[in-house]
Symmetry: C2
Subunit: 363 residues, 2 copies
């Protein structure tokens, strides 16, 4: 088959999704909305049937799918990809595992390698299983597309078309670079969040009671299920270890500085604090652009239905666009503190506009 | 003077606020709303005058204030408290420094010790200076009240009355316990956030571009100004060091597990991940109660004024109360993903209610 003469957004006419968890089912649902003939398979009896029952496709066997998507648990991905490349010699095969080097190493040099392109949709919810699937799951999310050196142009184009069709944003990069990147933006932050939250486990109640929004932010992702994370950290142990060792070196510098105290502390710790501040500035902001300078407006609000919608309506009337919005529930009281982040040069206008409408807004 | 026969919410009739930054000015403004005669003083010429100009009080000298509030930078607190206890032999003196042992050590055993009670309002914005002050700043925030063993009952009652009057929530605890608590819930999370963000400073652009909401959460507090944090970490070096060493031990266990891989990794890392998960469960939730079981409903929204207010209105109409609300701006697109956290048993109802109103909501 050839892509000649076809637009590069041509989707496969048929696809087999192997593994009907949250990601597999969501992708199947999204492909169905584009009219793709989707077939479903799962190693656990009954799971594919559940996915089919929510409209993700059919459990009927398929002879010659154009695309095979491997959405099985991370540890099983390499062997499953190899088996499916053999079972379907005409198909392009992709996977959705969050670590790419193990599958790239397994497939490289095999006869089917030109038909394989790895993938990693950076999306998910705290739920799992086929009934949690949603065709909207990938909308606006980065989706790493990870070709092998042998991957054919057709295979890369087909997988990229699928990524675009489900409204994700493709980012093409090589397996090792991908794994270093996710170690940095996902795996190491997860470990750090877990370690910080772990300190709370044995702390006195009266200490934990003083927790504020900063602690909640840092530890939020530590609350997720452990099973998947064991597989992720195991399969990306190299890249994660490199970064965690670097972080441990920085931590030792902090401990040395705290031990020295006074002027020495100030000198050594300034560098660490400044590097952290510089790091936060590099995280892409709204629309993937460089982070805009924003400012917060605070509004204490009663914690009952309808109050937030009135606040949002009044913000809308002020003509100021919301960059970010958060609610902190206040300690021991039925009151929330809304934090509205807006462009820095609009904060004063929003504050006076809300004040004029009777809100106790402040900056 | 005696508190006999007075309600325990009796406020001072006159107060001197020394240090007119964000916290000092905000407290002065809040006391003014209760009719307290507030006098202002600042070591930097002109600053007290600015605070007075926004309605925080008068710069006229005061002979015999009932209450003196020390709101100077942390490093200057102990000497300033001692000087003011001497200057105003009839006054109760309190401070607002975020570390309590240094001032407690300095004051304990001095003639004025019975008139001193430490304090720490856990509030702030990213702004500073008198013009950033707001009478509402302390509403619903924890405020640690930290007596010395010698502190008189009257002094503790007066300070606690002030805390209640500005609508903060008093938590009485001893200086060393306070400093251990804030090391746990504030100082160590800050260091950890800074170290994680520091890894981003020198990372390749294409790696940082894959950042998602998890990384943003973990690194958010690392963006704050460094000067104040140097003083805080220096003055609480002992408690911070103890916890960071403990975290370093856990980090080494993670590195060992990653090095071992496979079954050994799974065994060792499960404990660490489980402890983290257990730790997040201990953070007080809404209304200071035990965290309720909540679930997220996701809604992709156009990023323009008015859309969020419509969403909030429709959530209000559904009768489901919002536990938490966040917006993630999607990568490279003018679209946001609203994450609405609600009680777990209300999530399905909210999802179908929003879907019926035309929102692409999913769980």
């Amino acid at each position: 088959m050839t892509t000649e003469g076809l637009p590069d957004t041509a989707l496969p006419s048929s696809a087999l999704v192997v593994g009907c968890g949250l990601i597999g089912t969501s992708l199947a649902l999204a492909l169905r909305t584009h009219g793709v003939d989707v077939h479903l398979r799962d190693a656990v009896p009954g799971v594919a049937e559940v996915a089919a029952s929510v409209g993700a496709g059919t459990v009927d066997p398929v002879d010659d799918p154009e695309l095979v998507v491997v959405a099985v648990p991370p540890a099983a991905v390499p062997e499953t990809v190899l088996a499916l490349l053999e079972e379907f010699p005409g198909a392009v095969v992709t996977d959705v595992a969050s670590v790419k080097a193990p599958v790239a190493r397994a497939v490289a040099g095999t006869p089917g390698a030109s038909r394989f392109v790895g993938g990693h949709p950076m999306a998910g919810t705290e739920r799992s299983g086929p009934t949690a699937g949603s065709a909207l799951l990938f909308e606006g999310r980065p989706w790493a597309v990870v070709p092998l050196p042998e991957s054919s142009e057709h295979a890369v184009e087909l997988v990229t078309s699928v990524v675009r069709a489900v409204e994700a944003v493709p980012a093409v990069l090589e397996a090792d670079r991908h794994d270093e990147a996710v170690a940095l933006v996902s795996h190491v932050p997860h470990v750090v969040s877990v370690l910080t939250a772990g300190l709370l486990a044995s702390a006195p109640r009266e200490h934990v009671d003083l927790a504020g929004p900063g602690l909640r932010d840092v530890t939020r992702i530590a609350g997720s299920a452990t099973g998947m994370w064991l597989q992720i950290l195991d399969s990306n142990a190299g890249a994660v270890t490199t970064l965690l060792r670097s972080l441990r070196g920085d931590l030792d510098r902090v401990l040395d500085a705290l031990d020295a105290g006074g002027e020495v502390l100030a000198g050594r710790l300034s560098d660490v604090l400044d590097a952290g501040r510089a790091g936060t500035q590099r995280i892409p902001g709204k629309h993937g652009e460089v982070r805009t300078v924003s400012a917060s407006v605070f509004v204490p609000v009663d914690d009952r239905p309808g109050v937030l919608s009135q606040l949002m309506a009044d913000i809308g009337d002020s003509g100021v666009n919301i960059e970010d919005f958060r609610i902190d529930h206040e300690y021991g009281r039925p009151v929330g503190l809304a934090q509205v982040e807006v462009a820095a040069d609009r904060a004063d206008h929003l504050t006076s506009s809300l004040t004029a409408r009777g809100w106790p807004a402040y900056r």
